[in-house]
Every structure is written in structure tokens, then in C-alpha cells.
Amino acid sequence: MANYYIPANYLIKNICDVEIIEAPFITTQTIELGNKYSPEFVCTPFKYTLGTMIECLDKGANMLLQFGGGCRYGYYSELQEQILKDLGYKFELVNLITAGKINIKKIYKIIKKIDKNFKVSKGLYYLYITVNMIKYMDKIDDYIRQNIGFEVEKNSFNNLLKEMLEKFKTVNNPIQLYILYKIYFKKFKKIKINKPKNCLKVGIIGELYTLMEPFSNYFLEKELASFNIEIKRFTNVNYLLFDNKKIVNKALKKSKKYMKYKMCADSSTNVYWAKYLGINKYDGIIHIKSSFCTPEIGVMPILDKIANDYNIPIIYFSFDANTSEVGIKTRLEAFYDMLEMRRK
């Protein structure tokens, strides 16, 4: 998923003695593979991950890690395992989440099985670095998202990001990582941008996989940046792994008007964020999900209400392996025109 494979690989590489097969970038071939072997009405993340799994197995992997929970996703790894075994692949699939919770004992047992020499202290040490790496990456990403639409020289942000991530792969201790992060943050701030003071600002909310994997949302953020729009996205791995509970509780407290009980997956936080975007006078909200994503479908009527209360336009996109790219572009273009027109 996006660049997050870097910290994940970093952690595994450093705590146990295994060879890591990097999952190839998602392409149309991945989706075709996933589509072919998935149930038709399952949501797109299932198809994408299944396609990626097949590609990894073809490259010679014999163990797959899966990290899923929250909604239907919690059942996916068992189903994917069965599908792949029926196809004749021989491998072991490990889901790090059991019944919606991270089971530390189970994870310890798994690692011990992979590598007998595993030491807890070493594991915790590298886990600490990895957690920080994710936090720094998310902070940098946030800054990039706000400014990439205004870069003077094309690709300057992406090139620097690539350079930074390469350096991140080689760090040995938390201090080194911190210094790298500080250096690169300064470098990012030095990149020339041509940003007007009252540029259009849009918030993107919705289902997490579609939000975070650029291929699955047809590079929506890139498209928005080309319109010179500042982008705000809340969902990132930092939120999913560490801040989730805190934000969900806050969301329930702050958006009592719109919901009484906690909703499935990220629905409650999406309500809270939509309200945040409304209060902070953003120009628009884009809500994206994969087709048939039940939690996000459930939240749409509430979002409509918020949009109405705060007079902020909202547009919904459902992505599927068969979505027409032209259709998305037309709607997005019209959304941009509308925001421009409202500003005037």
C-alpha cells in the first residue's frame, strides 16, 4: 500500500532472518488476476490484495503476511488463503490480527517459529524505530499533500521523497532516523512552490484502502494536485495503528448530533472529519470508497446532512476494478469548476 511497504520490510528484515520478496507495484495485471479469482461482489481491496498475493507467490514467496480487520476485511485472509490453496499454491498465510485485535502472544509465537534466534529486546527496538518511521513518513506526506499542487518544478516533491525513503531504509537507530527526518523536512520546505494564499482546499475521506493506495483511486490526489488544490487527508497508517481508538472516542463525543453509537470501521471518524472540514471552511469534501463497501455506504446519508448543515459540497466516488477512468475525470473536473465558481 503506497510507500508503507518500506517500514514493514524494514521491521521484518531487521528482526528475523528471512528473505523478503517485495510485492510488485499494482498494475492492471494485478487487478485482472485478483478479479479472476475473487467472488464478484467482494470489495476491491480484496481483489487487489489477492492479485498481489498471486504475484508474490509466483515470485517465490512461501509465507504471506496479512493485516486486516475492522469490517469484512477481518474475514478476508481465511478466504484468500482458501482460494490460493485451491489454486494449488503451497504457502503459509499469517494474519497478524485475530478477531479484530492485535494478539501479541500469537505474533511472538509466529516469529519464534520463523526464526529461533529471535530476541524480544531486538524486536522491540526495531519496532520502535519502525513506528517512528511511519509517524515521520505520515507527517512528511501531510506536508507534501498540502503543497504538491503548487510545485514550480515538476516532480520535485516526489523525487525528494524517493531519496528520503531510500535513506530511511538504511537507518540503524532512532536518533539517526530523527536527524534524517529533520534534514529532509527542511529540504521539503525549501522546495519552491507557487501557492496563492486563498487556494482551493479539499478534504478526502472514505474507506482506508482506496484512500491510501493511489492505484485503486486512479491517482485521485495527483489529479487534484494538477488542478492546484490543497489536499487534506486524515487517514494514514499512523492513525490506523496508533490513534484509532483515541480519534474514534473523540469523534463520538464531538459529533453527537450526527451519531449516537460507534459505527463500523472508519465510519465514525469520517463523520467527525467531515464536520471538521465543514467547520474549518474547506471548499469541498471528496468521499471515496470501493464499491459495495458497507460501512461507507452507511455513512453517506449522515455526510449529506453535514454537507447541508455546513453548506459544503460533497462528491462521492465508488471505485471498482471496472470503473471508467473518463467518467471519474469528468466528474472531478466538474467538481473543481463548481468549487471555483462558488469561490467567485
Binding site: 498494475t27 446519508p301 459540497p313 469528468t330 469548476d337 465558481m341
Partner: protein, 313 residues
């Protein structure tokens, strides 16, 4: 005298208008696209040219509709915009106080909500062609009715049948069933018109507050049967402009006027050789479909690449 050309190239029909400085329509044309937008536009321009006095010079060209990008290249347009903007601008020129625009075209349908001349919300149908013009015309063909007579036949009915209109496929099988048990043709036609309205309001208009004045446009607005059921179900007056089919073209012509440069445009495109060549890129497993656009054997643009492998020149 200056004039401005707006072309709206839809899936089914191609529309063109030429306006003067005061947004008055000097001449207009409406022809079928027949799956070949380049040819359709060539014919369209010839028709428009016939009625255009030689004292007019074209100072701006705009294109909209699903083939807007291609035709924009062909005509060297100074503005290429999506249909939603074009329809809103065109309608606002004639009805400045419009609050809701209902539009049903050949392949898509949309709703645009406005307030004080500003678009505040819009929606477009997704995934499904139920309730669009092409569905109506295919059903008309099945029932052996002229699409032009469709509306007036529907008005004759006193007892429209109920048709499951969730999806064109379901609607069609339901329709066959209704015909086979002996319903009258006009009742079936009326049922179809009603189902289009219901489908539109449930799909595209879902959750939108429809306030009057309501304006109905697009090709299907010429169908008086559909119009009747819109009025009945919305319980408000629905206006159909005599030029309702030209609104997109008018809007884009106005936008071309607003964005005019000092260029003067030539409408002699009849003999320009315009060609699109498609091939699949084998650079990676994405297999992008690369479209190369040639104008008189000269490559003028490349579309469809996800990376920087293919860049013009």
C-alpha cells in the same frame, strides 16, 4: 462582426450553435453522431456555415460532451469543458433564476442544483444506463414505434403499467413480460416514461432538494410523456425550452466568448485528415492503451499513458 461557436458532441447526437456578442443564437444544428464524432462535426460545421453570413468572423470555439477533448483538438478550440458546466452556463443565460436543471441525454443523466446563478451541487448517473435516451430508443425500436411518436403515444394512456426500472436489463425483461400478457402498447410506453422519471429521481436525484424553477433538458426532454410524469411526480411546473437540446452547446459557446483571445478561427475543416491510432504499450504490466492523434499525418497528441514514457514529441 464577432461570433462564437459552441459544439456539444454527445454519444447519440452532435449539437452546434453560433452566437453573437449578446448570446443570441445566430444559427444552430442538430445531427446524429453515429459513432463517428469527427465526421459528425465536419458535417455539422458545413451545415452551420451555410446559414452564417459572411460578415461574421469566428473569434472563439468551445467544445463539450463526451468527445470534447478530441474535437477540441480538431477545431483548435480555445476552451474544452465538461458538460455540467456547459449546461449550467447555457441555462443560466436564458433563465437566470433557475434552481434545478434536470438533464437526460443519450448515455448519461445529470442533475444540477443552482443558487443565485452558482452551481451548488450536481450529480451524474454512475454505472447504469437505465433511464437514459439510449434505453428509450432501443425500447422504441423493440416495440416498433418511432421515437418521435413515443411521447404522444404515452399521453394517450390512462393506465400506465408498472415496470421494474432498477436496471435496463431487468426493465427489458419486465417489459417483455408485460407485452406478452397483452397490455396495450400505449400503456407500456407510458409505463416506460414513468419508470424513467422514477429511476432518475431515485438514482441521480437521490437526496437532492429539487426546488423550482425546474428546467428539463437534454434529448429526452423532447419526450412529452416523460415531461408529463416529471410534472406529476415532482408536483411542480417543469420548463422545457424550445432549444433545450442545444443548452450544452450554447453554454460552451458563451464560455468560449468569455475566454476569447485575439485568434480568428477558420471553419474549413472539411478536408482535414483526422486519425486516431490506438496501440497497447508493452512497457510494463499496466498495458496502457495509448491513443495517438494525427492531424494530416502529423502527430499532435498522445493520451492514455500512466507514466512518462509517451510524451508528445
Amino acid at each position: 462582426m464577432n461570433c462564437y461557436l459552441g459544439v456539444d458532441i454527445g454519444s447519440i447526437s452532435t449539437k452546434g450553435v453560433i452566437i453573437d456578442e449578446n448570446n443570441n443564437i445566430i444559427t444552430s444544428a442538430y445531427i446524429w453522431t453515429e459513432g463517428n464524432p469527427v465526421n459528425a462535426v465536419k458535417n455539422l460545421i458545413e451545415i452551420l456555415k451555410k446559414d452564417l453570413n459572411s460578415k461574421y468572423i469566428v473569434k472563439g470555439i468551445g467544445t463539450t460532451g463526451s468527445a470534447r477533448k478530441l474535437i477540441g483538438l480538431l477545431l483548435n478550440a480555445n476552451i474544452v469543458k465538461n458538460e455540467i458546466m456547459a449546461h449550467a452556463v447555457g441555462t443560466l443565460a436564458l433563465y437566470p433564476d433557475v434552481k434545478t436543471i434536470l438533464e437526460i441525454g443519450g448515455q448519461d443523466s445529470k442533475i444540477i442544483l443552482l443558487n443565485n446563478g452558482i452551481i451548488t451541487d450536481y450529480a451524474m448517473n454512475t454505472l447504469c444506463a437505465a433511464g437514459t435516451g439510449s434505453f428509450l430508443s432501443s425500447q422504441a425500436k423493440r416495440l416498433n414505434i418511432n421515437i418521435e411518436d413515443f411521447g404522444s403515444l404515452a399521453l394517450k394512456s390512462t393506465n400506465p403499467v408498472k415496470i421494474a426500472a432498477r436496471c435496463t436489463v431487468f426493465a427489458e425483461s419486465d417489459l417483455i413480460h408485460k407485452a406478452q400478457v397483452g397490455y396495450k402498447k400505449e400503456d407500456i410506453v407510458a409505463g416506460l416514461c414513468k419508470s424513467i422519471v422514477l429511476n432518475y429521481l431515485n438514482n441521480v436525484g437521490k437526496g437532492k432538494k429539487i426546488k423550482s424553477p425546474v428546467i428539463f433538458q437534454g434529448g429526452v426532454s423532447k419526450n412529452i410523456g416523460v415531461l408529463k410524469y416529471f410534472k406529476e411526480i415532482l408536483n411542480t411546473d417543469v420548463i422545457v425550452d424550445p432549444n433545450s437540446h442545444l443548452m450544452g452547446a450554447l453554454g460552451i459557446a458563451i464560455l468560449a466568448k468569455k475566454n476569447k483571445t485575439n485568434n480568428i478561427y477558420d471553419l474549413n475543416i472539411k478536408n482535414i485528415d483526422f486519425l486516431t491510432k490506438a496501440n497497447e504499450c508493452k512497457g510494463c504490466s499496466n498495458n496502457c492503451e495509448i491513443l495517438k492523434i494525427y492531424k494530416d499525418d502529423k502527430l499532435i497528441d498522445i493520451w492514455g499513458n500512466r507514466c512518462d514514457r509517451y510524451i508528445k514529441n
